[in-house]
């Protein structure tokens, strides 16, 4: 892939507020994102962490900063593995209301030239987003990382 900018778009029968909460509230992300919590106060300049429970311990798998935050429309965050902070990229969530549903667009871009992150997230995003859609529409997420 010459341009590793990734765009994922899905239509979800939900309100913008519910979609926003599902992305930003740990009690919701845990239910569809393989038990992982997205933790932050979601104010521009704040840190955010993608926290997994491994046994009884909590581990930060992805970390970054909130760049832009306009609830319930637009959230821009940086994205990096805490063990490799130089390999930073950017994720933008856009929630566009439509009749009885939202159009959610997730754009992952600004990968560093030598980044290994693009390949990893290309595997993960479709799984996470279809689980998010299932969670919002049926109340139940999918077993996203069952094949990892």
């Amino acid at each position: 892939m010459k341009n590793p900018k990734q765009v994922y778009q899905t239509y979800i029968r939900a309100t913008p507020k519910k979609t926003w909460d599902a992305i930003t509230k740990p009690e919701f992300t845990r239910q569809y994102w393989a038990g992982i919590a997205n933790v932050s106060d979601w104010k521009p300049g704040s840190k955010w962490n993608h926290v997994a429970k491994v046994g009884k311990q909590e581990e930060v798998w992805i970390t970054g900063e909130v760049v832009e935050s306009v609830a319930p429309k637009r959230l821009v965050i940086t994205w990096a593995d805490p063990d490799d902070l130089k390999d930073q990229s950017r994720v933008t969530f856009e929630i566009e209301p439509m009749k009885g549903m939202v159009c959610l667009t997730v754009t992952h871009d600004q990968f560093k030239a030598s980044s290994t992150m693009a390949g990893k997230v290309a595997w993960g995003w479709p799984r996470v987003l279809s689980s998010l859609k299932s969670f919002l529409e049926t109340g139940k997420g999918l077993d996203v990382f069952s094949r990892s």
Partner: protein, 117 residues
């Protein structure tokens, strides 16, 4: 009029119809290699008129297989893997999970067997 993702059956129809054409599949392959191209860039490697490419892009967009992003006045086309992933989940993923479950049950069974010896 925007499509409604893969919620409804007629939207699934649109995805399969969009894929039932070699030129449209080629356009998706071109975007997979180099994502985010303008109409002009997409026309360059293809032996097709600009009108024909436009027509194919509209069908791909309606099926949500292509997502459009604007960069100033430039319309950039991106491959959107979500509808294909939803089709994969519906017809392949869930069967694969059963197979993996069967394998893990087999492993467990074999290990338990070994312990009891």
């Amino acid at each position: 009029m925007q499509p409604i993702g893969c919620i409804l059956n007629d939207v699934v129809d649109e995805v399969f119809k969009a894929l039932a054409d070699a030129s449209r599949r080629k356009l998706l392959d071109i975007l997979f290699k180099n994502n985010g191209q303008t109409l002009n860039e997409l026309c360059a490697p293809l032996d097709m008129t600009r009108q024909a490419v436009t027509k194919h892009l509209v069908i791909l967009e309606q099926a949500n297989l292509i997502a459009v992003k604007w960069r100033g006045r430039e319309k950039l086309h991106y491959l959107n893997p979500m509808p294909l992933h939803e089709i994969y989940e519906r017809w392949i993923g869930k069967y694969e999970r059963h197979r993996l479950q069967a394998l893990s049950d087999l492993k467990k069974g074999l290990e338990e067997n070994k312990d009891s010896k």
